[in-house]
Symmetry: C2
Subunit: 211 residues, 2 copies
DNA sequence: TACCAACAGGGGAAATTTCCCGTATGAAAA
DNA sequence: TTTTCATACGGGAAATTTCCCCTGTTGGTA
């Protein structure tokens, strides 16, 4: 009896290629393919075949990796979720783990390592990726230097990443310039920067603000 | 006689999977695989098998897609170069074409389309990707709104994307604050922004400065 | 030779950002 | 009930950014 696998990735070429690759691993069989979380939900409804292991790409349109992993974790708690990503700098690593993934693999891992990882997941229920691949120190330190922002701060940060002056931002948020000043100071401290430019850049790096 | 193909992609999993996929296309055969331009150069030196078509990933460490395509175009002018990328918003599309690529494919194209594209490239020497896949308007307008920066401006822009003050930047560039002021004004105009924050953000969006 | 375009720089001023100081209010905790 | 804490706000000032106007040099080029 082969072990059933599901794959979710928005890149058709990668998705289909990976399916081919998994078929060369004699023990495994791909039973579900989807290009995003939404797509998967539809296919899981229609099709009754529930894979034992699900490979999930982190970056996807429509319904991303974290949301998909959370959903799967809730509806199919027994399913082993594996996150697939391009770059380990991504702050979503920890979020994928929190969302219920038992393994994290980079797309530049060797096929042999993928097979090994799958075996280990099947056997032990989890897989610790190669230390050389993922920056574990960052991962472990992540929680403690995880910066928490409240809604107002997030709104302010979003608006600060633009050509707007603080006065304009204050007007948009229906707050006094002084109050905005307080948020700025708080963000400077949390992000460890000395200027608005630094703040904007750091906001993007940390993923608080997109593009 | 099969048509020989080369593939360059830093993601092992994708690379190897793609090789498998190409082997399912009966007419094609992968003769060279590399994880970046540098790697390819070494392999091309050692190995005498020169592929007719080369698939090149745009985003790679060490030696990126554009540099690799240029090098191949110079040293193997007869080789048909195909750019592979994740996102069509990338400004490197036009650069890949300029570097000598005769086709541009997104990684979320369907395998069937890849095969069609390869056939067409083999036949006609080039391939026009599906209009629905690539934003051609952007591509066509690209040249005219391509922003040209001289070296000093690039250096300044890079330094401006930080916590540094203009005074500090001036010192680092061995220029007067007034001169820096001129560069700032020039960049504001070219990037169509009103503030340093906007400039930094736009610099990142346009790819002049890496995150 | 005179003109033009580019680059480098100076003085000054208004707008904005950054950083002090301190106050008030309401909710939660001691 | 007093204390603590988070949030909202104000005045003022220094630093920085932004925007004017104007000078000089250099290297083509008409």
């Amino acid at each position: 009896m082969k072990i059933s696998i599901g794959i979710i990735d928005d890149h058709q070429l990668f998705l289909k290629s990976l399916v081919l690759m998994l078929h060369t691993f004699k023990k495994y069989e791909v039973v579900v393919q989807a290009t995003n979380g939404q797509d998967l939900q539809n296919k899981m409804k229609a099709d009754t075949s529930i894979p034992e292991i699900m490979l999930i790409d982190v970056n996807m349109p429509v319904m991303d990796g974290v949301a998909t992993a959370s959903w799967l974790n809730q509806h199919y708690p027994a399913m082993k979720l594996v996150a697939l990503s391009m770059n380990d700098t991504d702050k979503t690593i920890i979020e994928m783990i929190k969302a219920g993934c038992c393994a994290y693999l980079l797309k530049d891992t060797h096929p042999n390592d993928l097979e090994k990882a799958l075996n280990e997941i099947q056997l032990k229920g989890y897989y610790n990726a190669d230390v050389s691949n993922i920056n574990f120190r960052r991962l472990l330190n992540y929680e403690q230097d995880l910066i928490k922002l409240n809604e107002k701060e997030k709104t302010f940060l979003q608006l600060a990443c633009s050509d707007l002056t603080y006065k304009q931002i204050a007007a948009l948020m229906f707050l006094s310039e002084r109050t905005i000043d307080g948020y700025r100071e708080s963000l400077f401290q949390k992000l460890n920067v000395q200027s608005r430019v630094g703040m904007a850049l750091e906001a993007i790096r940390k993923g608080f603000v997109k593009l």
